[in-house]
Each structure stands twice: as structure tokens, then as C-alpha cells.
Symmetry: C2
Subunit: 291 residues, 2 copies
């Protein structure tokens, strides 16, 4: 049984972890760290923790688990500070959306610490502690990845915690994680940010009409493109190799489609548009089209 | 009061028009034309019409309204056939997603006929007569556009029919319609088809993982990319000028973003990702984020 946890970063994910733990183990001691005073105030208001700090400090010592739930650009400083603390019985874990760069950094900085890289495939486009909820992770995937700072027992323990939140868990290589997330999450977000950005650049009179008639496809992109900008900046930079390679492939594909439109090649377009239905059908078959 | 209508093409939209009319005026005579025998069978099974034909023929004569609800590539033949019929008291209208090319064609072919170009901003990714429903157009926009083959009275009549289905109606220039739809609908569909297509081209082992973890953004694209391929082929080709111009702008924007990722320009990415939130907020303010 877990007696004490620390959560660094009390946004959507961090606050949902606090809520999920509290619902499971009412006596657990939750130590919350966030550099934003406003976030800490919201954390107190929502009774998310037993102690609150602006900085990573010795109050973290004695935690069974330390969850890092900040944007990835904050990890370097956090790892450095955690490295100065006594955490011999603690497992450090995180929820970042890219893993290879995070692991490189952890392996470079952390000495005699246990670190289990993690990533819950859950979230909404709303950020901040007020938007978290205890069932955010229910029926969603939690991915842990291998690294030199943890063994199978550590990984299994972290997986079991997420399973207790209701998540389905899986462990894979960090490289595989980053490839899969590039196509399922990072590229869709990048494209959505771009298309909404392209619309933002249109003349004012067209822009107001775009909002009025947004239900015809555009609206779905704006939802994706309203996710937290700091988090997504960090994801794009921390998984850049995978993202660049895939966007270049996407650009070649779109050029081919554009050429087909220019040359009235209806056959090419029909075949392309028909083929993509198959992937959708597999998602529906797997029961993944809802929730 | 409308006594008789003809619907050419009994797919999602055509069958929903039949259902909406029947709910409003139980005695209306509905004449259905579809080149697909399977669609006609489904139409009979669902009691959508009083008469059914595979071809555009004289049974259409005497209709108050003739709705063309086929893919745009079928319009030329349909206009030519309608032109041979006696339709002096009929209004021909359509539901096509692009308007300038459609109007060019109508003005070239139709002689002494009334044609009101129309476009209901409604639909689902499911096609076929079995998927239509009477409330498909409720609270959705219906756009009519000006052309030389109709006057304000004709337009107002068609608008009033759609208003009776529960739609909000607006009339605009065909060029404006095509510009707005390019950004709100055509480009999002083109991009979604492409990104799902890019994923289809990945190795098999990654592809099955992509489906498993599709909830993280990709799934929304697959929904859009599972729309009817014939309809979308025709839309891309019939609004090609607007689409080509916008995709070229989108490509320039994405190159700029990619350069920012390559050069670790976090400031550029943050500003870009932040700006797009504004459009989302305007959509939410306008109450257009749901349904």
C-alpha cells in the first residue's frame, strides 16, 4: 500500500492523479509541488493535497512515488533537484508524451535513483487543476517504457498503480512509443495547429464566416488545436526526429494528392479516399471509436 | 403547400429530405430516382417514396421541387435530362458542397428552367439511405447562393422549405460559399484523408499499434476520412482553385513550423500554438462547439 506520494505539476494530469489516489486510499499523504501560486491555490481549494510547495524540496523525501507532471522543458531542473534528495525507497515516474529524450536526460542526471518512464494516453483539451477528474484514466492506456534506471519489478509496480486507476497498461521500448505517438498524436496536433493557424491568417470577413460554418470539419481541428501550447511546444521539440521524418512523408503524400487535383485525376483521389476508410473500420471493429 | 417532390439520389442527404418532408406533410407525393437498384430497394423498404425509378424521366414532371442529391460528377447528365422535361412550375435545387462549378454547368445546360443552388451544412460520415434521419438538418445551416437561373422569390421559397426542416438559412454569393467551405470543410477533409493515408503506408506492426492508441488525436481524423470517397473526389475536383490556393498556403505554414522545430525555436511554436486557441474560444463563445 502506498503511504505517501509527491506530485510535481498540478495541471490536468497531476490533479487527476491526486483525485484518483484519494478516491482509492483516503489516508494517503499527497505532497504537491507547483511553481504557479495560482495552481497551488486551486489545489488547496479542491483539497488535492496535504502539503503544498512552490519548489522541489526535502518534503518529497519518504514518498513511495514521485510523479513528474510538468511540461518536458522543466524536467532537467527537476531531475537535478531530485538528485540532491534522499529517495532510496522512492520510484520517480513521469507522464510525458515523448520518451527517448526524457530517458536520455534522466540517465544523464539521476544517480542511484529509480525512474520509470510513463505516459497515460488520456487528457482533454482543457488544462489546469480545476479540470482534472478522478476517472480521467479509466479505460485508457498507460504506457511504461524500459530504461536503465528501472527493473521489471519497478515497472510492474508503476503499472499496477495505473491499473488501480482503471487504466489498461502496456510496456514497450521508448523508440516504439515515440514512433507510435508521432503518428497517432503529435502529427495530428501539429497539423491541427497548422490548419487553424492558416485560417487565423485569412481576412477578417472570411474568418467570422469560418467560425459560423465551423461544424463541417474545421471544428474538430480547433478542439485539438486548443490544447496547452507549452506542453505541445515541448512535445514537438522532444520528439523532433520522428516528427520531422513523418511530416516530410506527409508532405510528399499531400503533394501527390494536390497533383492529382490539378490534373483532374479522379481515379487517384477515389482510390486514396477509399483506402482510408479501412483504418476507420478497424478502429470501429476494435470498439475504439467512442469515449 | 408542396404536393409533389422528386429526389434524385437517395443517399444520406436525399433520404433525410424524404423523411423530413414526410414528417411535415404526410400526404406529399415523393418520387425517387437513383441509379442504384440496391438504394431503391432500401428506399422502398424504408417507405421513403411513392414512386421509384432508375432514371430521370417524365415522372419528375409536375414536381414543385426537384432535389439533386447525387455526387457532383453526375450533375451534367442530370441537367441534360431535366432540360428535356416540362418543368415550368418546378424549382430545381441541389445539395452539392461546391457551388461555382455547379452554377457554371447549370447556366450552360438548363434553358427556361429555375435552378436554386443549395447546400445544407449537415451530414455524418455514414452514407446511404439507411443512415438518413428526419432531424439531420435541424439547427444546421442551409446556404443558398445566387445565380442567373433564379430570382429572390425562388430562393426564398427554397430557404423556407429548409427552414421548415429546422435549418437556419442564409443566402450568399457562390464565390464566398466556395471560399468558406474550402477552409471549413474541404481542406480539413483533404488533410484528414492524407494523414490517415500516411498512416496506412506505415509498416504493419506499427499500423496495428496506431489503431490501438488512436484515441490520442488520430481517431478524430479517421472519422472525417471515412466520408464517402465518390462525393469527396467530386468536391475536390469541383472546387479545385480554392483548394489548391489554400493547400499551398497551408504548405508554406507547415514548412515554417517544421523549420522552427528543426532549429529548436520554442518561442515560435509557443506563439503559434497559443494563437490558435483564440479561434476555438470564439467557436465556444458562439455556442458552436457542440452537436
Amino acid at each position: 500500500m502506498t503511504k505517501k506520494i509527491s506530485i510535481i505539476g498540478i495541471g490536468l494530469i497531476g490533479s487527476s492523479i491526486a483525485r484518483a489516489y484519494r478516491a482509492l486510499e483516503s489516508n494517503i499523504e499527497i505532497n504537491i509541488i507547483d511553481k504557479s501560486i495560482s495552481n497551488l491555490e486551486k489545489g488547496k481549494l479542491n483539497k488535492l493535497g496535504n502539503s503544498f510547495s512552490e519548489k522541489v524540496d526535502s518534503k518529497i523525501e519518504g514518498s513511495d512515488l514521485v510523479f513528474i507532471c510538468t511540461p518536458i522543458s522543466a524536467y532537467e531542473n527537476i531531475f537535478k533537484k531530485l538528485n540532491t534528495l534522499i529517495l532510496s525507497n522512492s520510484i520517480i515516474t513521469d507522464v510525458g508524451s515523448s520518451k527517448c529524450k526524457v530517458i536520455d536526460l534522466a540517465e544523464k542526471i539521476l544517480v542511484n535513483k529509480v525512474f520509470v518512464p510513463g505516459h497515460p494516453i488520456a487528457g482533454t483539451e482543457k488544462s489546469g487543476p480545476e479540470n482534472g477528474f478522478k476517472d480521467l484514466f479509466k479505460d485508457r492506456w498507460f504506457i511504461s517504457t524500459y530504461c536503465k534506471l528501472c527493473d521489471d519489478e519497478n515497472i510492474n509496480f508503476v503499472n499496477s498503480v495505473w491499473a488501480s486507476f482503471g487504466s489498461k497498461t502496456v510496456t514497450m521500448k521508448s523508440k516504439d512509443h515515440d514512433s507510435i505517438m508521432a503518428i497517432t498524436s503529435h502529427i495530428p496536433h501539429l497539423i491541427a495547429y497548422n490548419i487553424v493557424g492558416t485560417a487565423s491568417g485569412l481576412e477578417e470577413n472570411i474568418k467570422s464566416e469560418v467560425i459560423k460554418f465551423s461544424a463541417s470539419g474545421f471544428r474538430d481541428f480547433t478542439r485539438i488545436a486548443s490544447s496547452d501550447p507549452t506542453m505541445w511546444r515541448d512535445i514537438m521539440l522532444s520528439n523532433k526526429e520522428e516528427i520531422i521524418a513523418l511530416i516530410e512523408k506527409f508532405n510528399r503524400d499531400i503533394k501527390e494528392t494536390l497533383d492529382a487535383i490539378k490534373s483532374d485525376n479522379g481515379k487517384f483521389l477515389f482510390e486514396k479516399f477509399k483506402k482510408t476508410k479501412e483504418i476507420r473500420e478497424k478502429i470501429i471493429e476494435a470498439g475504439l471509436d467512442k469515449f
